[in-house]
C-alpha cells in the first residue's frame, strides 16, 4: 500500500484520526453511540480475552502433566509420554527449532535483501513489476504445498550438495554426513528459507521503495556508483525495516509444522552434524506425536506448545520494539 499517492490533496493522515472528534462526542449519550462504542470496545476486549485464554488453557493443561514428569522438562532427551510415569523433555525440540530457524534466516535474509534490491534498484523496470507481483503471490502459497514439494522434489535432489559439503567441510563435524537420506535439520532449514523468502522480500522491498529519492539522487550527483548508493543510503535507511521483516519470517519459521514434518527424519537426540538425520522441532513433534498420544501425552504436547507460544511471543515482542524504534528514527514518519 503506497499511502502517499492515494491522498494527494488530503493532509497527511494523523496516526489517530478519530481522536479529534472524540472530545466532541465524549458528552454524547445517544443510545446508538453507546451501543456502537460498546460493540467495538467489546470486540477489542474479546481479542484480549482470546490471547489470555490461550495462555491460560495451555498452561492449565500443561500443569496437569508437568508434575508427573519424571525427567527434567528442560533437559531430558526423551519424549515418552504414554507410560506411567511419563518421561519427557524439550531439550531436543528447542535445539532443533532454534537451529533450523537460524539456518533458514542465514540463507533467506541475504538472498531476500538481494532480491529486494534487485527489484527496486537493479532490475529493468519492465521486469521488476511482474516479478514483484509473482513473489507477492508466492508468499500466499500454503505451507503444505511447500512440504509436498520439499519431500518429493527437494529431498531427492540434495544428495549432491550433501556429498559436496561432506567432502570439503566434513572435517568441521557440523557438515559430516553418514550417508543417510538427506532429511536432516539442514534440509529443514533450506526448505524454511525458501518458504520465508517471499515474505522477507516483500517487506524489504516496501522499505527500500520508501527510501527518500533525495538521498539517492544526492549520492548519485556526487558521483557514487550504484552500489555505493545502495550501501550508503538505501541499506542504512532500510536496516530496521529489514530486521523487522526478518523477525516476521523468523516467526513463521519457528512455528512451521507440516512442511517440517514432511522433510525431517525426527529422532530424540542432538547430533553435532546438521547433515545427519535427526532432531525435531516443537511444531513437528506435536503433529507427529499427536496420533498415538493418550490424554496424558496430549497434555505433554500442549506443554511443549506453550513453550513455543512463549518463544514466538518473545520474538514478536522484539520485532515490535524494533519497529517502534524505526518509527522514531525514520525520516518518512517525521
Amino acid at each position: 500500500m503506497d499511502i502517499s499517492t492515494h491522498t494527494p490533496t488530503a493532509p497527511p493522515p494523523s496516526p489517530r484520526p478519530g481522536q479529534a472528534e472524540n472530545r466532541t462526542v465524549r458528552g454524547a449519550t445517544r443510545p446508538g453511540d453507546r451501543i456502537f462504542l460498546g460493540l467495538s470496545r467489546g470486540s477489542g476486549i474479546a481479542l484480549l480475552l482470546i490471547m489470555a485464554s490461550i495462555a491460560v488453557f495451555l498452561t492449565y493443561r500443561a500443569f496437569k502433566v508437568l508434575p508427573e514428569d519424571t525427567g527434567n522438562f528442560f533437559t531430558t532427551f526423551e519424549w515418552n509420554t504414554n507410560v506411567t510415569p511419563p518421561d519427557f523433555g524439550i531439550a531436543v525440540l528447542v535445539f532443533g527449532t532454534v537451529v533450523s530457524s537460524i539456518i533458514a534466516m542465514a540463507l533467506a535474509v541475504p538472498v531476500a535483501v538481494g532480491i529486494a534490491l534487485f527489484l527496486t534498484h537493479y532490475a529493468p523496470r519492465r521486469l521488476s513489476g511482474p516479478i514483484a507481483y509473482v513473489i507477492d503471490l508466492l508468499a500466499a502459497v500454503p505451507s503444505i504445498v511447500y512440504g509436498l514439494w520439499g519431500a518429493l522434489i527437494l529431498v531427492p535432489n540434495l544428495d549432491g550438495l550433501y556429498g559436496w559439503l561432506d567432502d570439503y567441510l566434513g572435517w568441521t563435524g557440523i557438515f559430516d554426513w553418514q550417508g543417510g537420506a538427506p532429511r536432516s535439520l539442514l534440509t529443514v532449514g533450506i526448505l524454511l528459507a525458501i518458504m520465508i523468502l517471499p515474505i522477507i522480500t516483500n517487506v524489504s522491498r516496501e522499505v527500500f521503495r520508501q527510501v527518500p529519492r533525495m538521498h539517492e539522487e544526492a549520492a548519485l550527483a556526487l558521483g557514487a556508483t550504484r552500489w555505493e548508493v545502495v550501501r550508503m543510503s538505501v541499506l542504512p535507511f532500510g536496516r530496521s525495516g529489514v530486521i523487522s521483516a526478518s523477525m516476521l519470517g523468523l516467526g513463521r519459521a519457528l512455528g512451521e509444522t507440516i512442511a517440517v514434518a514432511t522433510v525431517l527424519s525426527p529422532t530424540f537426540e542432538i547430533k553435532a552434524s546438521l547433515l545427519d538425520p535427526g532432531g525435531g522441532t516443537f511444531a513437528q513433534n506435536i503433529a507427529s506425536k499427536f496420533g498415538e498420544a493418550t490424554e496424558q501425552g496430549r497434555d505433554a504436547l500442549i506443554a511443549s506448545g506453550l513453550v513455543l507460544f512463549v518463544i514466538t511471543l518473545l520474538v514478536n515482542g522484539a520485532a515490535r520494539l524494533i519497529i517502534a524504534r524505526r518509527a522514531e528514527y525514520s525520516g518518512a514518519n517525521a
Binding site: 519424549w79 507410560v83 543417510g180 538425520p277 506425536k289 493418550t294
Partner: protein, 376 residues
C-alpha cells in the same frame, strides 16, 4: 448515493457467493469405487460380497485407531458399502492411542488398536459402555515384514541377532560378515545400511522390538516408542515404506501389505531349520498358536516371538477391534454389529490374505464370532 449503490452491490455479491456455495453442496458425490474396480492392485475387488447381512444398519459409523489395519479396513469397507449402501464407515487411521482415546470419549463406535486395552482403560470404558465394558476382539493378524531395498539382492536371510545389530547401528554396511554368513552365495554390495524406524509410537514397533528382545540381543526395553539411538525415522508404516522405496540400502519393518514394488521382504531364520518367508500363511501358523489372555468376552492374545514350529513366521502383529460388550449406542449398534459380523466371517477374513494380512483361524475365530453375536 454512490456509496449506497456500492453497498448494495457488495450485498448482492455476498448473496451470490452464499447461494453458489449452497448449490455446490448438492453437486458432488462419494466415490463408490466402481470407476476403478478393475485393474486395481489390492485385489479386494475379486472377493465375494453376496453374504453380507445389512439388517437395519444405516447411517455414519465413526471409527478410529491403528494404522496397521488400515489397508484391511479399506478393503472391507469397500465390500461392505457395496452391499449396504446405507452405511458410511469412516475409519480414521490416526493411531491406536488416539483411537482408544476417541473411543473412551464416546466419539467413535469402535476403535482399532495394535495392543489390548490396559486395565485402567477397561475401567474407564465403563463410562461410555453403560452396563458393560470395552472388549478386545482380535480381528486382523499379520506378519510384520522386514522390507529392504538393496539393488541386485533378491533374497536375503537374516536372524534376530543380526537384525538387532542392524537396527542398533552396529552393522552398518550390507557387505558385513554377519550378513554374508547367513547368505552364502549372495553377492552383497558395498552399500551403507539405512535403517529406518517409526518416529511415532506404534504397536508395530512394540511387536518388532518384543521379537528382537525375545529372540535376538536387543538391549533396550521393548515398547511402542523406539528406544535405540541412531538410525533414521519416518511417520507411520506408510512413511517407512515410502522411504525404503526411495532410498537405496534402506531396511525397515512394516505390515506385509506395505511391501510393494521397489523392495523385498527379508526371510527370517528362526529356531527351526529353514528360514521363513513373510507370508500370511506363515504368520497364521504363529498367530494360531497364540494364547488368549483376556477374560470373558475379552479376547486379548499373547504371541510367541520365538517359535520353533517349522514355517511359523516369528514377527507378527494382531490388531484388535475394540467395542463395548454391552451398552453400545443404540443408533450405531446395528451398523457396528453388521459390519463386525461381516469382517469376522469367512468371507470377510478371506479377503485378508490378498491384502497382506493373515486370516484368523480355528478357535480364536469362533470365539470372536460368538462375542460379536452377543454385542448389545
Amino acid at each position: 448515493m454512490k456509496l449506497q449503490r456500492m453497498n448494495r452491490r457488495a450485498l448482492a455479491l455476498g448473496a451470490l457467493a452464499v447461494s453458489g456455495a449452497l448449490a455446490l453442496t448438492a453437486c458432488g458425490s462419494d466415490d463408490t469405487g466402481d470407476k476403478n474396480s478393475s485393474g486395481n492392485s489390492s485385489g479386494a475387488a475379486s472377493a465375494p460380497a453376496g453374504n453380507i447381512k445389512c439388517d437395519d444398519a444405516k447411517g455414519q459409523l465413526q471409527a478410529a485407531g491403528s494404522s496397521a489395519q488400515k489397508n484391511a479396513i479399506d478393503a472391507w469397507v469397500k465390500q461392505y458399502t457395496a452391499a449396504c449402501n446405507g452405511v458410511q464407515i469412516n475409519y480414521n487411521a490416526n493411531g491406536s492411542g488416539a483411537g482408544i482415546t476417541n473411543f473412551l470419549q464416546g466419539q467413535t463406535a469402535f476403535a482399532g488398536s495394535d495392543s489390548a486395552l490396559k486395565p485402567d482403560e477397561i475401567t474407564e470404558s465403563k463410562k461410555v459402555c453403560s452396563g458393560g465394558q470395552a472388549i478386545d476382539l482380535p480381528m486382523v493378524g499379520g506378519p510384520i515384514a522386514v522390507g529392504y531395498n538393496v539393488p541386485g539382492v533378491d533374497t536375503l536371510i537374516l536372524d534376530a541377532k543380526t537384525l538387532s545389530k542392524i537396527f542398533n547401528s552396529e552393522i552398518t554396511n550390507w557387505n558385513d560378515k554377519a550378513i554374508a554368513a547367513l547368505n552364502p552365495g549372495v553377492k552383497l554390495p558395498d552399500l551403507k545400511i539405512q535403517a529406518f524406524h517409526r518416529s511415532d509410537e506404534s504397536g508395530t514397533t512394540d511387536n518388532f522390538t518384543k521379537y528382537l528382545k525375545a529372540a535376538g540381543d536387543w538391549q533396550y526395553e521393548p515398547g511402542k516408542s523406539w528406544k535405540a539411538k541412531g538410525g533414521q525415522s519416518a511417520q507411520g508404516s506408510s512413511g517407512l515404506a515410502q522411504q525404503v522405496k526411495q532410498t537405496e540400502g534402506a531396511i525397515s519393518y512394516f505390515e506385509l501389505s506395505y511391501v510393494a514394488d521397489g523392495m523385498k521382504a527379508v526371510e527370517i531364520k528362526t529356531a527351526a531349520a529353514e528360514p521363513v518367508a513373510a507370508t500370511t500363511e506363515n504368520a497364521s501358523k504363529a498367530i494360531g498358536a497364540a494364547k488368549i489372555v483376556g477374560t470373558g468376552n475379552d479376547l486379548a492374545l499373547q504371541l510367541d516371538y520365538n517359535p520353533s514350529t517349522p514355517g511359523a513366521y516369528p514377527i507378527s502383529l494382531v490388531t484388535y477391534e475394540i467395542v463395548c460388550d454391552k451398552g453400545n449406542k443404540a443408533d450405531t449398534l446395528p451398523a457396528v454389529k453388521s459390519f463386525l459380523t461381516y469382517i469376522a466371517s469367512e468371507d470377510g477374513q478371506s479377503i485378508l490374505s490378498d491384502a497382506g494380512y493373515a486370516p484368523l483361524a480355528g478357535d480364536i475365530a469362533t470365539k470372536v464370532r460368538a462375542a460379536i453375536a452377543n454385542l448389545s
